[in-house]
């Protein structure tokens, strides 16, 4: 019985972890091309989900709503490139980080101004009924989310593996001035990547929105993604998945088996502490690029 429960917690944890990965991937995309932690990812997520839901609530069919939302994410991506990234090219990461914070205010404000502050339900038509495998309960919705995440990672990995664009991305993240000097079109790369991050945000926003309801708190799921990022490495898509699995499992197991001894509620920080402990052994995460420095 006990092992069954353990398995259940473990599986539940792994599957929640995949949900974190969904969010983390958006961060990875941006980090890979600008070396910056994009704090607006949460706001993008909120904006995407809110736009989609509000459009469907106004009677649009699902596919049209998706298309319109995608268009909106493209516009946002292009706008961010033009108004924020281009003028701040070659600035230190901390400045860009702060700028993304500013961007997140704008997007959050715009989302709520546009669509209001109501809480919306979102039904993707996927039942969340428990499936039982040998006495272990597994949520069908979580399996669906895992499949979505898997598909997304596969697509992105293939993209990076089989196009030379990936190399350009890394070059941009490494040294923006040199990237300009060799003729990489930072504007195009950034627009593309931010749009892609917007698409990832839409997917993550829909999956999370189906679970939390579409509301302001949606933007807080990024806090779950950050330990995943440091654990997997900021610039690794595979890291986002593996990191998510580890974080999810650690978090749930700790809450269930350690929580009761310290009063519970440790999920909020245990992932960070675990990630920290891990970083002390590998300072750039599981799959993150190592810092290259010599004198």
């Amino acid at each position: 019985m006990e092992w069954q429960f353990f398995t259940e917690v473990l599986v539940g944890g792994l599957l929640s972890g995949v949900m974190y990965s969904l969010v983390a991937i958006g961060f990875v995309l941006i980090y890979k091309t600008s070396g910056v932690l994009n704090f607006a990812q949460g706001a993008l997520l909120l904006f995407a989900a809110l736009t989609f839901v509000s459009l469907t609530e106004r009677g649009l069919p699902g596919w049209a709503a998706i298309l319109l939302t995608l268009a909106a994410m493209t516009v946002i991506g292009a706008a961010i490139e033009r108004a924020v990234l281009r003028p701040l090219v070659n600035q230190p990461p901390i400045t860009l980080f702060m700028a993304t914070l500013g961007v997140s205010y704008v997007i959050e404000g715009a989302a709520q101004l546009l669509w209001g502050t109501q809480v919306h339900g979102l039904d993707l038509g996927i039942d969340d009924l428990p499936l039982e495998f040998g006495g272990v309960l597994v949520s069908s919705f979580d399996l669906f989310a895992a499949a979505v995440a898997g598909a997304m990672v596969a697509a992105l990995t293939l993209f990076f593996r089989y196009t030379r664009i990936g190399l350009g991305f890394r070059a941009v993240a490494d040294d923006q001035l040199a990237a300009l000097a060799v003729g990489l079109s930072l504007d195009r790369i950034w627009t593309a990547v931010w749009t892609a991050a917007g698409v990832v945000a839409l997917v993550a926003g829909l999956v999370w929105g189906a679970r939390l309801g579409v509301q302001f708190s949606l933007s807080l799921v990024v806090l779950k993604a950050l330990p995943v990022l440091v654990l997997g490495g900021f610039d690794s898509i595979a890291g986002a998945i593996v990191g998510g699995l580890i974080v999810g499992a650690v978090e749930k197991l700790a809450e269930v088996y350690i929580g009761p001894f310290v009063g519970g509620g440790i999920e909020g920080w245990i992932a960070y502490v675990a990630a920290l402990g891990f970083l002390l052994i590998r300072p750039s995460g599981l799959f993150g690029a190592k810092l290259v420095e010599r004198v």
């Binding site: 429960f5 259940e8 502050t117 809480v119 339900g121 428990p130 679970r211 978090e251 809450e255």
Partner: protein
């Protein structure tokens, strides 16, 4: 003459849904009184809003700004944190501070907290009301013996506040209680619910906040825990808490001090007079009669009636805050008066006194049927005999710590 209600509202941020509903209802009622009656005995009601985003510092800033306008009747922040930060100031400025359905439990003892009013319900009587309701469902309080109840609470001071009282109630009625924390904001509850599934409790009491509620309901469904055995507390009882959970919320039951629905005469009037004239405060008319909106309306009734009662004593003019405080301390609305106000069934009655700033409010329970809330219980009273001593112990300790002279209710009533 004007009577001014400063509103430290929040329409942005994580708790915007509650804020728009509550302050919308409050404003709608004030508007109704102004348009229908020309104010309270000719004294016009005014208000303005100051956005706090539910943040304490912003609430403080609003307080300092808004208090300078003359004719302040009462403060209604709808935020524990802001209320705490104002307690000193309202005492000095002598204006009542209304914390309907929430706030500092021991401020129920008006002998110590002269200007603070946790009207309708404080966290302790809420907990007691929930246990009493479970008792009635089981067929009597004595049937609680041997039952197992899990309290799933939000990882914040608000969530933790009732831990001791549930412990006490468990001892008294012989059920076992396990209290499980969900870390803020509560968007992940897998482990908590798996533990609950293992514990196999008879009931889960949901003491949630914001996004934690729909997630709890969804996760419960995921682990196969039936929704009708989950009992929500007063901040887990709104449409916003259940709609995002979809079908998972069907059958979920929650406490309330005021029924939802728009069938009550006062709401009909608001819909007609206020919204009909395009002066309604809610953007979305569908939300008329929702839980937060109705709470705002009830809060409006209580404020207005307190002013009215005070006017009876002090004259039909702009009152000082202290005079309004007197009105609140004599706020007695029996069911007949409630009916006269067009709110029969919307809330039960209230009976505030110097010693009791809560007002013995009764609660009822409503169940979500997938589209709306349906009342499923009578009006239930909390266990005052159990609670009052604990409250007094705490308030007297506060008085000692802050050098406050405890008032003597008998003497006060005699002097008035």
């Amino acid at each position: 003459d004007e009577q001014y209600f400063p509103l430290q509202s929040y329409r942005v941020g994580p708790y915007a849904a509650g804020g728009t509903g509550f302050f919308g209802g409050f404003i709608d009622y004030l508007t109704l009184v102004n348009t229908r009656d020309g104010g309270v005995n000719g004294v016009k009601l005014t208000w303005d809003e100051c956005e706090t985003q539910y943040e304490v510092e912003r609430g403080v800033e609003c307080y300092k700004r808004q208090k300078n306008r003359p004719g302040v009747a009462a403060w209604n922040p709808l935020s524990v944190g802001i209320a705490y930060a104002m307690i000193d100031d309202v005492g000095r400025d002598k204006v009542p501070l209304i914390t309907v359905n929430h706030g500092r439990t021991d401020s129920t003892d008006g002998r110590v907290f002269k200007y603070v009013f946790p009207l309708l319900l404080n966290p302790y009587s809420e907990s007691s009301g929930i246990v009493n309701y479970i008792g009635t469902r089981e067929g009597g309080l004595e049937k609680l013996k041997g039952k197992k109840i899990v309290v799933l609470y939000h990882g914040s001071p608000y969530g933790k506040e009732t831990i001791p009282i549930y412990q006490l109630l468990a001892e008294k009625y012989g059920f076992s209680v396990e209290q499980v924390e969900v870390p803020h904001p509560g968007n992940e509850q897998q482990s908590q619910w798996l533990s609950i599934r293992r514990t196999k409790p008879d009931y889960v009491v949901l003491r949630g906040w914001g996004v934690m509620n729909p997630v709890a309901l969804k996760t419960a469904q995921k682990v196969g825990f039936p929704a009708d055995r989950i009992i929500g507390n007063v901040w887990s009882n709104s449409e916003e808490d259940v709609i995002p959970a979809g079908d998972a919320a069907k059958g979920y039951t929650a406490i309330t001090t005021q029924a939802s629905g728009a069938d009550y005469p006062v709401l009909q009037e608001i819909a007609k007079t206020v919204y009909g004239a395009g002066k309604g405060n809610l953007d979305d008319k569908k939300r008329i009669g929702s839980v937060y909106h109705n709470l705002g309306i009830v809060n409006g009734i209580l404020n207005v009636e307190a002013v009215r009662i005070a006017q009876d004593k002090f004259g039909k003019r702009t009152l000082t805050g202290d005079e309004v405080r007197w009105g609140f301390e004599h706020l007695r609305l029996d069911p007949a008066r409630v009916e006269a106000l067009g709110a029969k069934g919307l809330f039960h009655s209230i009976n505030v006194s110097v010693a009791n700033h809560e007002g013995e409010g009764r609660v009822t329970f409503q169940q979500w049927d997938g589209a709306k809330w349906k009342v499923v219980s009578d009006w239930i009273a909390p266990d005052w005999a159990l609670l009052r001593p604990i409250i007094e112990k705490s308030s007297l300790a506060y008085a000692a710590e802050h050098g406050i002279q405890v008032r003597d209710p008998a003497a006060e009533d005699a002097s008035n």
